[in-house]
């Protein structure tokens, strides 16, 4: 059924192929160079007898007349045990293995299997002969790191099938057939320990989708308290260059309260991926005590790698995320950056000579972004357990201007917006999430009314600050001035966090509740000062003391004594009120 075509045109990484027989949209084809090397490509448009394919590699050397072999299959990934801890490129080639074979440089047309074929897994059956099952049901488990990795009935199996045979507990490699199923028509289906799934199709083998309500803590105060994210929610972090998007994503990948983290480095600097690559194996996951790498998977399609594979990389990421969700796990997908992915779409659209939309992005940009974020969510699986995929996309708007198409299209479909600002990062206020412009539709760990109140103080303080720039400190009343100082206090001791401090880098949910309660109390305390200088002096000291408080371990004696010290000093200025 697979057709063969001939190249008739080459334009950048787009080839036009004349074919006979049938060709499917998004089908994979291999373009054969005269040297024999085959380049992976994907059909993106069909017109009459011509199919247009984007090539996932450099097209140097392709000629008119070169052959293209269509595979009859959509662009797919391998799903099975052994995915975690790996580093893949956008097409799921394991990069370390490629490096072993090819050395320093990536070689064109070199593809390796994603899952190790010779590794043995200890399989424990969960289903028995005669059971009725359907796509996504568990047949058995193998231990993968800290998880029980479920070996499931292939997702594409629809309707009820019967287990005809299943292997007993024992060691198997992924290629081994572990079960044979029989469908209603009596057709036999062999089940291996891995399956393939097309990346652009969401996995829907669950009972129902639930509303994301449970907070997903990141141990970052400004996020968890002010702009919370829910398990199964979607959020974005747009920001100009240098505002700390990547540092923020690295913090999230370390401290997020999830089972599996998938980092999709999409068209960004290789150097940043290398940091994660080299540092994560050394770091411990505070939840399990094991290496952080054990729960992490990196998909790395850096900016210099071919642009079409960049587009595939976010889909590869989200498909693997959905796969682990099917095991009842909570997965966080961090995509850095979705703008590069959108630019990849723009490049292809330009080559296809489609009528451009705003800033030359294709007209389908919005729907493409929307359907990507919609793949996040909490689901109830058929065995009653729940799993979730939370998606965080960082956005790199041109010129740091949020009014551009990618940011706007993203804002429409996400549940939380953590806007990073150049102004705050220039002031060295980290994380540079803007407290007045950002928003979240999810419920957090702290009572909403109190958080709202705290935001009002920030807004009021900001107003006073703007006014002071015009009328000067002299023209500002002492009450307004105190409001301003209080908002600055909240900003410096609560919103800001020292990412490089061993304790302050992560603030647990319990600690946040405790500290927020105390800080909130201070904000609501009426205070009286003789003049502005003494007010400023008091808040400077209070800020210093509270920052020290943030830097000591929760529930240590020092923590208690510093807290006492803070409240004693607050009592000093409230005596006369």
């Amino acid at each position: 059924m697979a057709s063969i075509g001939k190249i008739v045109g080459v334009n950048g990484n787009l080839i036009r192929v004349a074919f006979d027989g049938a060709v499917a949209q998004n089908e994979v084809g291999f373009a054969k160079l005269s040297s024999g090397v085959e380049l992976k490509s994907e059909v993106i448009r069909i017109r009459g007898d011509y199919a247009e394919l984007q090539v996932f590699e450099d097209t140097t050397g392709l000629k008119a007349g070169d052959e293209v072999h269509f595979t009859g299959e959509l662009l797919s990934v391998e799903l099975g045990p052994g995915l975690l801890t790996q580093v893949f490129d956008g097409l799921q080639n394991p990069l370390p293995n490629l490096a072993e074979e090819c050395g320093f440089f990536l070689q064109r047309g070199k593809y390796l299997p994603a899952l190790p074929r010779d590794r043995k897994w200890s399989f424990t059956p969960a289903a028995k002969v005669g059971d009725t099952v359907t796509g996504g049901d568990t047949l058995g488990t193998v231990p993968e790191g800290i998880f029980k990795h479920r070996i499931m009935v292939p997702f594409r199996v629809r309707g009820q099938v019967t287990v005809e045979s299943i292997v007993p507990a024992g060691e198997h490699v992924v290629e081994d057939v572990v079960a044979v199923l029989k469908d209603a028509e009596g057709k036999k289906i062999e089940v291996k320990m891995y399956q393939t799934w097309p990346v652009k199709v969401p996995i829907k083998n669950y009972q129902e989708r639930l509303r994301p309500t449970k907070p997903l803590t990141m141990q970052q105060r400004i996020i968890d308290t002010f702009f919370p994210v829910a398990q199964g929610g979607t959020f974005c972090t747009p920001g100009p260059f240098g505002a700390g998007k990547t540092v923020l994503q690295q913090l999230m990948s370390r401290y997020a309260d999830v089972d599996v983290v998938i980092l999709a480095a999409c068209g960004e600097r290789a150097g940043e991926v290398v940091e994660t690559l080299r540092e994560f194996p050394e770091l411990n996951d505070p939840r399990t005590g094991k290496s952080l790498m054990d729960r992490t998977l990196i998909i790395c399609n850096t900016s210099s790698m071919p642009v079409a594979a960049r587009e595939a990389s976010v889909y590869t990421g989200v498909t693997i995320a959905e796969y682990y969700r099917q095991m009842g796990l909570n997965v966080l997908l961090l995509a850095d950056s979705t703008s590069r992915w959108a630019q990849a779409l723009r490049e292809m659209s330009g080559r296809l000579e489609e009528i451009p939309g705003e800033e030359a992005f294709p007209a389908y940009l919005e729907s493409t972004i929307a359907s990507f974020y919609e793949r996040g969510g909490v689901v109830k699986l058929r065995d009653g357990s729940t799993g979730s995929v939370t998606i965080c996309g960082s956005v790199s708007p041109a010129g740091g201007n949020f009014e551009e198409p990618v940011t706007q299209a993203t804002l429409k479909v996400v549940g939380a917006f953590l806007g990073l600002s150049r102004e705050r990062s220039d002031q060295r206020r980290f994380p540079a999430i803007h407290p007045l412009e950002s928003w979240s539709k999810y419920e957090g760990i702290i009572e909403t009314s109190k958080v709202e109140d705290a935001r009002h103080i920030l807004a009021a303080g900001n107003d006073v600050n703007q006014m002071m720039k015009v009328v000067g400190e002299e023209g500002t009343s002492i009450e307004d001035f105190i409001t301003y100082l209080k908002s600055e206090y909240l900003d410096s001791v609560y919103l800001q966090q020292d990412a490089y401090h061993e304790i302050d880098a992560a603030c647990s949910a319990d600690r946040q509740k405790y500290v927020f309660d105390r800080v909130y109390k201070i904000l609501k305390t009426p205070m009286e000062f003789a003049d502005k200088d003494s007010a400023r002096g008091f808040f400077l000291k209070l800020t210093q003391a509270t920052k020290d408080w943030n830097r000591v371990a929760f529930d240590s004696n020092e923590f208690k004594s510093l807290e006492e010290q803070i409240f004693n000093s607050v009592a000093e200025v409230t005596k006369n009120v």
């Binding site: 290789a270 642009v307 630019q343 000579e353 800033e359 030359a360």
Partner: protein
């Protein structure tokens, strides 16, 4: 052995179209017309119509000019004989020396496997305090110099080239003024650095296509040296001209522009060049410094904006000085903890005090009375600008740190600087 074509179907800008069979994408061809011979490369194939970009431009090419396909993509010769030589972007000598033809390597080669990269760890010493102390340059870093026309960016590049402790310098000039080209060449020559330099130069009057080839040629040569264990510094000036050349070509090719006329793949194009910066595990390295002039001093212009997202920081060159604010080396944290124990202290303290000085200047210009503290800051700011920021200052890092302490001690008491007392005890100059 190669087929020769005599019929040119279309000529637009520097792109010509011929009817030909069996031609490969990116293949090189020789175009001979009454104006002479030029190389060209295939950039689009549509059926039997082949678009070629003519390096020397299409001026004077006739419909019956001769096109001979060479059956190979663009290559650049590589050998140690390249050192001390000057070439055009197409690899033709422009210094009257002999042509080099040995060991050709393809340009624009594949990207480095991220799994083979290592975390950068070695500082590049430049003798410029604003770089060494405040925004340390690191081996394998890619860093642009954001500047505007008229600033001495080429002088800065030349000085860094001269003083950086590297094995090989590759200088790529795009749209260079001829004077600037001669200046760079003479400066390196006079200071004895030409013998470890390879230059690929496209001057403003040369055909625009050659400008496109300069970064690729420079980086291909750099990669060859680096995989042979050499530490290479690549200097590119000016990347905005490179981007403008891309713009020109893509518009002649009738491609849909994305932002201010630049092609939609500007980011990918710039990134694929900058990402060549690398530290090879167990071998050499490539460090890239690239001038990017900002049209209208606007950092949100597509070229500096896209560059900022790709590179690991930036230097702002303004009013003949590297601005301490806005300039950033993202990799400095990797190295400045290991130089001298006071490096970070001096770096942070001096910048904070300089920021206060700027505030005082503002107050002064508004006519406020200067307090005692303000006067101290004014004295400090002046010394800082003159002895640290000025580009003519040329001292090693350790001397610069000592100078930092001396300036601080001259202007302030230890408490006023907010430096931890442990540091003060160790480094504060004793009056004597």
């Amino acid at each position: 052995m190669y087929k020769v074509y005599h019929r040119i179907e279309r000529i637009a800008g520097s792109v010509i179209t011929v009817k030909a069979d069996g031609v490969a994408n990116q293949e090189l061809a020789q175009v001979t017309s009454a104006q002479g011979t030029s190389l060209a490369r295939v950039i689009r194939i549509d059926g039997d119509m082949v678009d070629l970009q003519v390096f020397a431009g299409a001026r004077g090419i006739a419909t019956d000019s001769q096109v001979r396909f060479l059956g190979k993509p663009m290559e650049i010769p590589f050998s140690d004989a390249l050192l001390g030589r000057v070439f055009t972007g197409a690899g033709v000598p422009r210094d009257n020396g002999p042509a080099i033809e040995e060991n050709p390597v393809a340009i624009g080669g594949p990207s480095v496997n991220p799994a083979k990269r290592i975390i950068p760890k070695t500082m590049v010493r430049t003798g410029i305090p604003m770089i060494d102390v405040f925004n340390t340059l690191v081996v394998s870093q890619k860093l642009p110099i954001f500047s505007v026309a008229g600033e001495p960016y080429n002088q800065l590049l030349a000085r860094i080239a001269l003083q950086a402790e590297v094995d090989v310098i590759v200088l790529g000039g795009m749209g260079l003024k001829h004077d600037d080209y001669l200046y760079l060449k003479d400066y390196l020559d006079q200071n004895g650095a030409l013998s470890r330099t390879v230059m690929f130069v496209h001057t403003a009057s040369d055909p625009i296509v050659e400008s496109l080839l300069v970064p690729d040629a420079s980086l291909a040569v750099a990669e060859q040296f680096a995989t042979r264990g050499k530490n290479v510094l690549v200097l590119l000036t000016d990347m905005t001209n490179f981007a403008d050349a891309m713009k020109e070509i893509s518009i002649t090719m009738e491609q849909i522009p994305s932002n201010r006329g630049y092609p939609g793949d500007l980011y990918s194009q710039l990134a694929s060049r900058y990402e060549k910066a690398v530290d090879f595990e167990g071998s050499g390295s490539i460090t890239i410094l690239a001038v990017t002039t900002m049209p209208g001093d606007d950092v949100t212009h597509p070229v500096p904006d896209n560059t900022g997202y790709i590179t690991e920081g930036q230097f702002y060159l303004k009013h003949g000085r590297i601005e301490p604010f806005g300039s950033l080396s993202r990799l400095k944290q990797q190295v400045n903890g290991k130089t001298r124990s006071d490096h970070r202290t001096i770096m942070n303290t001096m910048i904070q005090l300089y920021a206060s000085y700027k505030e005082t200047l503002e107050k002064q210009s508004m006519g406020f009375r200067m307090s005692n503290w303000d006067n101290k800051l004014l004295k400090y700011g002046e010394r800082f600008e003159k002895e640290m920021m000025d580009l003519s200052v040329n001292i090693p890092l350790e001397k610069a740190l000592d100078l930092g302490w001396e300036i601080l001690a001259d202007c302030f008491t230890p408490e006023e600087t907010g430096i931890p007392s442990k540091m003060i005890n160790q480094y504060w100059p004793k009056k004597g």
